[in-house]
Amino acid sequence: MQTEKRSRLIVLEIVAFALAILILIPFFMILVNSFKDIRESALFGLGLPSAWKLSNYRDVFEQANILRGFKNSVMISASVVVCVNLFASMAAFVIQRRDDKFLRGAFYMFIVGLIVPVSIVPTIKLMSDLHIKGTYFSLVMYYTAVLLPFAIFMLVGFMKSIPRELDEAALMEGSSYFRLYVQMILPLLITVLVTVTIVVLVSVWNDFFGPFYLMTDSTKWTLVLQVFNFVTLYSTNWGVVFAFMVMVVAPVLIIYLFLQRFIIDGLTAGSLKG
């Protein structure tokens, strides 16, 4: 019985590792090819480079304004993280606690936003009517509006598990609603806020749709838009293209490797409460 169970586990382990290799091969492919010269990289092979070319990475730095794209991506993502976390947690706090007709209606409106696809052409028109088209502000507001429904959905679900007695005790002691929110509620929401932050970061960092339509000025492009443009221009030299991709993917993967515990636990805790 014991050995039967153990051999079953070994078989499962082998199956799982085989599948994991399928996930890893594409990552490996861009990594090795990013060190190959123009002719070798065009073969897209999995073999190691015959001569390691670090110059691909230098070329990316010289041609691609990668630092500017990096700065834009960081700035935009960080602003959206702050706006979404702040606005959503404030809203979720009163939506769940007040539970009146108006806020229940508002909550359903947000849920609809979770399902409905963005109407992109009118969004562009609206931005230009408001004279903010092509600004960082317009892109941050676009992302905030798109990601708020998800954040509110998660946070309202989690608010239910924070006992009202806690509020009552704090209010009894003379705390204001604002202090209650800042000092009691926010700290208790931290696990969900971490999840929201990670999901927002991943969505904004990787998004192409938003800046593609809303950013005409190339100095304000994010990394992903730069990749798109770079491939269109330099697709004759895949070694350089892959080097660019490695540089775009690496920061996300490094952050992921550090935070993956929280991501997986956070999704675990958050996704099923709503």
Binding site: L12, V15, M90, F93, M109, V202, W205, V227, V249, T268
Partner: protein, 289 residues
């Protein structure tokens, strides 16, 4: 009312941003879809149902409609089957389970546009690793021009998206599995239930909430697919992989703004008509268990 002292204005920033930057364009989009708004016109004027009449006679849109549905159905089904399978395997006492979970979720944090480019190389007809691998094991007759052959193009995009999203479903199912008590599983195997019976009658029903989340998200997100299709095939060959958002982008870039907005509204209708009944059905099912 019990909670009425909670200050309403706490909800205002979220409401303001959402109303202005999401609801407003959605609503005015409804109006624009009945106009002749385009890049050449100085004024925007109402043209009734013209856009919709044109839209239903456009075979290219019908293709986009069909492809979006096929894509969404295939991704939703396989993402859930594979995600659940992985979750069941990685819920066992495997030594490397944490490491493996980390690997499977990894593609989900990468930009779909970058994944699109990577797979364009992988699917390359002569040099891509898929055909190279098939050739080297003597299965060269199975090698295809994965992205340029109308028979396989949509299939190739589906596989690419599954590579990206299956790990996400796995995590949500793993979450659901954590809530199932070990005692329940043990007592059922004492009673002589086989693995399959245990899965069918105990484990799967208790995963109802995870199933709802996974099916709904998979469906909604796959109907909105854009970047990956654009990079892999851009709707081609011909229009065999055209989906709603690639079509909208095309209409937008040719300056047919009113028409593009009407197409966007059709996507809205499609997502709502499919999403809402599925959500209600799944929720009802959750309660029945």
């Amino acid at each position: 009312m019990k909670g009425s002292k909670y200050p309403l204005y706490f909800a205002f920033p979220a409401l303001a941003v959402f109303l202005l930057f999401f609801i407003t364009p959605t609503v005015i989009g409804f109006y624009y879809s009945f106009t002749d708004w385009n890049i050449n016109a100085d004024t925007i004027s109402f043209n009734g149902l013209d856009n919709y009449r044109a839209l239903f006679q456009e075979p290219r849109l019908l293709t986009a409609f069909k492809n979006t549905l096929i894509f969404a159905a295939a991704v939703t089904v396989f993402q859930n089957v594979l995600g659940l399978g992985l979750a069941l395997i990685l819920n066992e006492a495997l030594k490397a389970k944490n490491f493996l979970r980390m690997i499977f979720f990894m593609p989900y944090v990468i930009s779909p546009i970058v994944i699109g480019y990577i797979f364009r190389a992988i699917y390359h007809p002569s040099n891509g690793i898929i055909n190279q691998a098939l050739n080297s094991v003597g299965l060269g007759f199975m090698a295809q021009d994965w992205l340029n052959d109308p028979k396989f193009a949509l299939f190739s995009i589906i596989v690419t998206d599954l590579w990206r999203v299956t790990g996400f479903s796995m995590v949500v199912y793993l979450a659901g599995l954590q809530f199932i008590s070990k005692d329940l599983i043990e007592s059922s195997s004492m009673d002589g239930a086989h693995y399959w019976q245990r899965f069918r009658f105990i484990v799967f029903p208790l995963l109802a909430a995870s199933l709802t989340v996974n099916v709904l998200l998979a469906m909604i997100n796959s109907m909105k697919i854009f970047e990956m299709v654009m990079v892999l095939t851009d709707g081609g060959p011909g229009y065999t992989t055209e989906v709603f958002f690639t079509y909208i982008r095309n209409m937008f870039s040719t300056g047919q703004f009113g028409y593009a907005t009407a197409v966007n509204l059709m996507l809205f209708v499609l997502v709502t008509l499919i999403g809402v009944p599925v959500l209600m059905g799944l929720k009802k099912r959750e309660m029945e268990y």
